[in-house]
């Protein structure tokens, strides 16, 4: 019993997302075990690649996972969420395509240049949001409402109202598979981004600084932490994540459609952060929780698709699952449940005592 308690404690805030993903796995095992079959197929280019529902889940959640990592930082530092990530990703994607289309042919150099340009553009918009939040002390949701309103229109304006397509083997490789590697490239990018986050947290004190700013900004300032800068920095880091996600989104389709690129992803991202057990009011955070949260959301969506639910109806079922998850995770329900457990335990203890007597 003692070890069990310790186990519970060590899981901490990851309990909910892990339970959620386990429930989904068990549900799918009962429903249709072939959901988990992974095969190797030949794609159009003649590469042998992994395929199957599980791969679709992990591949499809890439953008969401990357955005969720950045969003966790913003949430932790500012106690609010950025609702403009989808719009900002459309802008970054447009900038990416703009550079790609400027030359005659697309080489590796052009792609890197275009990606860097997209990063800079997204960082500028991130800094804009960050300035509003950190310097002018506006709540993040309100501050990012500005970019949410006009972001997709700016993306539209960058491309002059067209939806240009990009045809290049390099772009296909980024959005799909690199020849010779059976794992989808977006998954590799997620791994790289996660490792970078891990390294940054390992070698700098960013994690602890962000937490202290989120828990009490003025106390952190009195301790010599520049909380304005930390908040601004979190938005700029989110900007880089947005650029990466936008570029993946563009590469997947090979075109930029400002209206549909990563549509509604801001809500899913915030949801991933919340399912990951992070407090949306700021403070302590765990990036790993948000990543699992992103996969929970994608797995739920793919499970519903596998059950022949149409893409427009998915939202209603998703909502029910979300409500169930947050109700289970809510502090009041948890407290009541623990009370019930202790009652049961003490009852059992009494019985055993009686039995012994």
């Amino acid at each position: 019993m003692n070890t069990k308690k310790k186990f519970n404690l060590s899981l901490g805030q990851l309990t909910i997302p892990i339970i959620a993903i386990l429930i989904l796995v068990v549900f799918n095992l009962i429903r249709d075990p072939s959901f988990f079959s992974i095969g190797i197929t030949q794609n159009n280019d003649g590469n042998s690649v992994l395929s199957g529902n599980l791969i679709t889940v992990i591949n499809g959640a890439s953008e969401l996972a990357i955005l969720a990592m950045g969003m966790t930082l913003v949430t932790a530092a500012c106690g609010g969420q950025d609702i403009s990530v989808g719009a900002a990703a459309a802008i970054a994607g447009s900038a990416f395509v703009k550079i790609l289309k400027s030359g005659d042919s697309i080489s590796v150099g052009t792609v890197i240049l275009a990606f860097l340009f997209a990063c800079v553009v997204a960082m500028i918009f991130g800094a804009f949001n960050g300035t509003l939040v950190a310097v002018f002390k506006i709540q993040p949701m309100i501050a990012t409402l500005i970019l949410y309103t006009c972001g997709r229109s700016i993306a539209y304006w960058i491309n002059g109202g067209a939806t240009p397509t990009v045809q290049s083997s390099i772009i296909t490789a980024i959005g799909g598979f690199i020849p010779g590697i059976p794992v989808p490239t977006p998954v590799l990018i997620v791994v790289i981004v996660a490792i970078i986050f891990k390294l940054v947290f390992h070698f700098t004190s960013l994690e602890i600084l962000t937490q202290s700013v989120g828990i009490n900004g003025s106390a952190a300032r009195l301790n010599g932490i520049n909380s304005t800068f930390i908040k601004l920095l979190s938005f700029i880091i989110l900007g880089v994540c947005v650029a990466v996600a936008g570029c993946i989104g563009v590469s997947r389709l090979g075109l930029i459609n400002h209206e549909t690129l990563l549509i509604d992803i801001e809500m899913d991202t915030i949801l991933a952060v919340a399912i990951g057990g992070n407090n949306l009011g700021g403070g302590k955070f765990k990036i790993s929780g948000s990543i699992i949260g992103a996969y929970v959301i994608q797995m739920l969506t793919i499970t519903l698709y596998a059950m022949k639910v149409s893409s427009t109806d998915v939202k209603a079922y998703k909502a029910i699952v979300i409500i169930l998850l947050v109700v289970i995770g809510s502090p009041v329900v948890k407290a009541k449940f623990e009370k019930l457990m202790t009652k049961l335990r003490s009852g059992k203890a009494k019985e055993t005592v009686k039995g012994a007597e």
Binding site: F136, Q139, M141, I142, C150, I270, A316, A319, V327
Partner: protein, 342 residues
């Protein structure tokens, strides 16, 4: 009661200041449009058009203002409006009557408000997540009900829809010499009734003052003996109920149900409330300001259209710019005032 009013005087003056700024900017903008663009802006009908088109937005924004004053957020309002429109249209087309349809509209709104309020105030779940789930649910249900646009064929409803209140003295003489009276739809009357009701609630009733106290500082509201949980629950219930009414008004304006109805309405409503001087942190705000917020938003869009910027991106970009301007202005004004007090 007196005690509460006395204590809340400082935030109230903030409210008034922000509202005054909004109203003066709106008036200045409209006068500028009249002087520079002329045309439609010179006729009173322009204002009535704005009201006709935005009656449901006004109602929804009132509900959102209540929730925001209480320190919460409700992003499900647009989706609930859309769900109400679709279910009422289907009900009327299957031979229902108008009175029951109105009850159905309010019922759906109340049901959403009830669930949101219970989950947020009694189970202490973050309002953003709960209402986000509510938004997903309502949007999903709308498409489950019908993916295709549905037109109302009910005759009684059609005659109700076409009722227009004509105000002849505000009309103008057309080129052929006929007097064209200013037309106002029935929905605008409902919107004004809601607006006045919410205004009275927030200004003169005990419950309304409780919303301000709760949004201003939850701990001190608790110390004052306010039942914070119940008050918060009621704020979401009211927002839900108003979204139901707004759905009915929306249907009276368009006369058809569509899965994409009221898309993005929640963000417009939030923007309107912010422009009107309501702060998302709670405790500061006024429905009168929200009303002018809606008008300001609409006027910006109308000005963009009539000044010939026809490219589709200009409307959103100017709205965003205007929003940025208002938000920055409020932040600067409030921080300067707070600085002076110290």
């Amino acid at each position: 009661m007196n005690n509460i009013v006395g204590k809340r005087r400082e935030p109230l003056s903030d409210t008034k200041l922000l509202m005054t700024i909004t109203i003066s900017i709106f008036v200045a903008m409209y006068l500028l449009a009249m002087a520079l663009l002329g045309g439609g802006f010179l006729h009173p009908q322009q204002i009535f058009d704005m009201l006709n088109d935005n009656a449901s937005l006004i109602i929804v924004s009132c509900g959102l203002t209540i929730v925001m004053i209480g320190g919460g957020i409700d992003i499900s309002v647009g989706a609930v409006t859309s769900l109400v429109v679709m279910s009422c249209v289907l009900y009327l087309n299957n031979g229902g009557n108008i009175f029951v349809a109105a009850l159905l509209a309010i019922g759906i709104g109340l049901a959403f408000g009830l669930v949101h309020g219970y989950l947020i105030s009694y189970l202490e779940i973050q309002p953003f997540i709960v209402t986000l789930a509510g938004m997903f649910f309502a949007r999903g249900m709308t498409t489950i009900l019908s993916v295709n646009p549905q037109k109302v064929t009910h005759e009684g409803f059609q005659s109700l829809r076409d009722v227009k209140i004509e105000i002849s003295w505000l009309g103008y003489t057309a080129k052929n010499g006929n007097l064209v009276p200013a037309r106002m739809e029935l929905g605008v009357v409902i919107a004004f009734v809601c607006l006045i009701a919410v205004f009275i609630l927030l200004k003169y009733l005990r419950l309304g003052r409780c919303f301000y106290a709760m949004g201003g500082n939850q701990q001190s509201a608790l110390m004052l003996g306010i039942n914070v949980k119940r008050t918060r629950f009621l704020s979401y219930l009211m927002s839900g109920c108003l979204s139901g009414i707004s759905g009915f008004v929306f249907m009276m304006h368009t006369g058809a149900g569509n899965a994409t109805n009221a898309a993005g309405m929640e963000m417009n409503a939030i923007a309107a409330a912010i422009i009107g001087g309501t702060l998302l942190t709670g405790g500061v705000g006024n429905v009168a300001g929200t009303f002018f917020g809606v008008l300001t938003l609409t006027t910006i869009k109308k000005i963009v259209v009539s000044s010939g910027l026809n490219d589709p991106w200009w409307q959103n970009i100017t709205t965003g710019g205007m929003l940025c301007f208002f938000i920055l202005l409020q932040s600067v004004v409030l921080s300067r005032r707070n600085g002076k007090k110290k």
